[in-house]
């Protein structure tokens, strides 16, 4: 395991081109609270990076700014490989998974996953085919016509992930997606997310407050401190992929968790 300062982002973890560059981003809310300050962050194509921090450290705020839901008060968020529209705004190509599944209760699983395509005016038949494929990829191929109320919490979250991936986005942004699930469902979803990532090689920015989850999933962990929210460490977890249940019990995993926990304690103390 290697520790680095946030200012020199890890590059060797993945050889991909940079897809997202965050430079000196700060966010002050209208009530005066400084939610995030001086955040630098680089994301390379195909990387799996976690944002780890205590509650209220601004990780969700940062993720929402990257998604384009709210502008930073200072600093820049750049998309080096993305086209810009006629107003010079980047045409963000992201998928977003919220903490809750956030599905439309009146639509079936298929209807929910079709939504991003419908909004982009993809013809319905084509949209349905792609939605069915995305649902099959998350293991819900036989639940296309189920309504959200007929699905369990974990299954709803799978639909939400399928919806985020159906547009084949450059970056998948996940805001504590499994925090509301029970531990067993959560581990299963972690495994399935990793195998999906291994197959499709999208880029992931994953917000969590669980040390274990972040170590298990990511190649890099950005540890954040609160008041004001800032990145205090950039930790690489070098264990090779694919990772499975045996990794959870390995000494390497335990050592990584210890190291990241120490950083997190530092973050809380600071």
């Amino acid at each position: 395991m290697a520790l680095r300062r946030a200012v020199e982002p890890a590059t060797e973890a993945s050889g991909g081109r940079p897809v997202l560059q965050v430079r000196g981003v700060a966010k002050r809310f209208s009530n005066g609270t400084l939610a995030v300050t001086g955040v630098d962050l680089d994301l390379r194509a195909g990387e799996f990076v976690s944002l780890l921090g205590p509650s209220g450290c601004g990780k969700s705020t940062l993720l929402r700014m990257i998604a384009g839901l709210g502008d930073p008060s200072a600093g820049r968020i750049e998309w080096p490989t993305t086209d810009h529209d006629s107003h010079g705004r980047p045409m963000r190509d992201v998928g977003f998974v919220f903490q809750e599944a956030t599905l439309m209760p009146w639509a079936t699983a298929e209807g929910n996953v079709m939504l991003p395509l419908t909004l982009k005016r993809v013809p319905p038949r084509q949209a349905a085919t792609r939605a069915d494929a995305a649902l099959a990829a998350v293991g819900l191929g036989s639940f296309l016509h189920a309504y959200p109320r007929e699905l369990s919490g974990g299954m709803k979250m799978r639909v939400s992930i399928a919806r985020a991936l159906v547009t084949e986005p450059k970056i998948l942004l996940m805001d504590e997606p499994f925090a509301a699930l029970d531990e067993i469902t959560r581990q299963k979803l972690n495994d399935d997310l990793l195998s999906l990532w291994a197959r499709q090689r999208f880029t992931v920015l994953f917000v969590t407050h669980s040390v274990f989850e972040s170590v298990y999933l990511s190649q890099r962990i950005l540890v954040m401190a609160a008041r004001p929210g800032r990145v205090i460490a950039d930790v690489a977890t070098d264990a090779p992929f694919p990772r499975d249940a045996s990794f959870r019990t390995s000494p390497e995993y335990a050592a990584s968790c210890r190291g990241v926990s120490a950083k997190l304690l530092e973050a809380i103390a600071s």
């Binding site: 384009g68 977003f96 919220f98 956030t102 209760p105 639509a107 909004l119 036989s142 369990s152 974990g154």
Partner: protein, 291 residues
């Protein structure tokens, strides 16, 4: 009717709460609880009617003060020709007023949620329209509008309009905040957000308003006709009640009254059925759970 049981999902980790629909025991197409729900009030109704008939018979109250239920029923049969014609007119006014309330309610609530200025400027007047007693303004409307039918329609519409408007506005504004964010994220325009998010989210609220408005439209139609007191060809049930009162045909008055109540109950049941059919697949209100 369906019930939900727990079943192991194919996804082994997600064994929780996957509802499956199982058949309940039925008798003549209806389940036992449904029969209970129908029979319990029916028995109460019959007992009350029986008591009423008994009291009338026992005390010998003259029919022009209190007729018994059996006499009212016979009047309903003998006067069916006149009364059913009036019922049709009352139902026509109620239906048209409700339709106008639905169309204008939806259009205005959509406009209000698209423009804060429009809502700020006009909503107070919708409230004024709602809180002004219809009995007080009905005479004015009847004087201003030459056509009786149209004036009755306007009165019924005024009463029926507000619940639909205010409920639909509430519904349009209660779409899930994260879903609104998601629509933003995918660059949805106003029309798309309205069509795919706000309107479906407003549906249960609109239907709640519709059920209230259905009854109110009938009340509005009856009240306005009482005020108008018009005779002639286009006479609804309210006029029949007035007329029978003047002529001391009290059994006929009760018969007409029973028809108004019956019409109100049928309107409520029909609107409840529509609401159930539209929401049964997804909305909490239409789902029966076992726990």
């Amino acid at each position: 009717m369906t019930a939900f049981v727990q079943e192991t999902a194919r996804d082994g980790t997600d064994a929780a709460a996957l509802p499956a629909i199982v058949e309940e025991q039925r008798w003549l197409y209806l389940t036992i609880p449904t029969w209970q729900r129908i029979l319990a009030p029916a028995v109460i109704g019959l007992v009350v009617l029986g008591l009423w008939e008994f009291v009338v018979w026992q005390t010998g109250v003259p029919y022009y003060i209190l007729p018994g239920p059996w006499q009212i029923f016979r009047t309903l049969i003998t006067d069916w020709g006149t009364l059913s014609g009036s019922l049709l007119i009352t139902l026509q006014i109620t239906g048209l007023a409700l339709l106008a309330a639905v169309v204008l309610g939806i259009v205005l609530s959509v406009l209000f949620t698209q423009s804060k200025w429009l809502e700020m400027s006009l909503f107070p007047y919708a409230v004024i329209l709602q809180v002004t007693p219809i009995v007080a303004i009905a005479p004015l409307i009847i004087i201003w509008v030459n056509d009786t039918l149209v004036s009755l329609l306007i009165c019924a519409w005024i009463v029926a309009f507000f619940p639909i408007l205010s409920n639909t506005i509430l519904g349009l504004n209660s779409a899930d905040h994260n879903l609104i964010n998601l629509f933003q994220l995918y660059g949805a325009n106003r029309w798309q957000t309205l069509r795919y998010l706000r309107l479906p989210a407003a549906l249960p609220y609109f239907l709640g308003g519709l059920r209230i408005s259905g009854g109110l439209a009938l009340i509005g139609a009856v009240v306005a006709e009482f005020v108008a007191g018009s005779g002639g060809t286009a006479s609804g049930l309210a006029f029949r009640i007035l007329e029978a009162g003047y002529q001391l045909k009290i059994p006929r008055m009760f018969a007409a009254l029973a028809m108004v109540s019956g019409a109100g109950i049928v309107i409520f049941l029909v609107l409840s059925l529509i609401s159930h059919l539209l929401l049964r697949r997804w909305h909490e209100s239409a789902i029966r759970r076992e726990n």
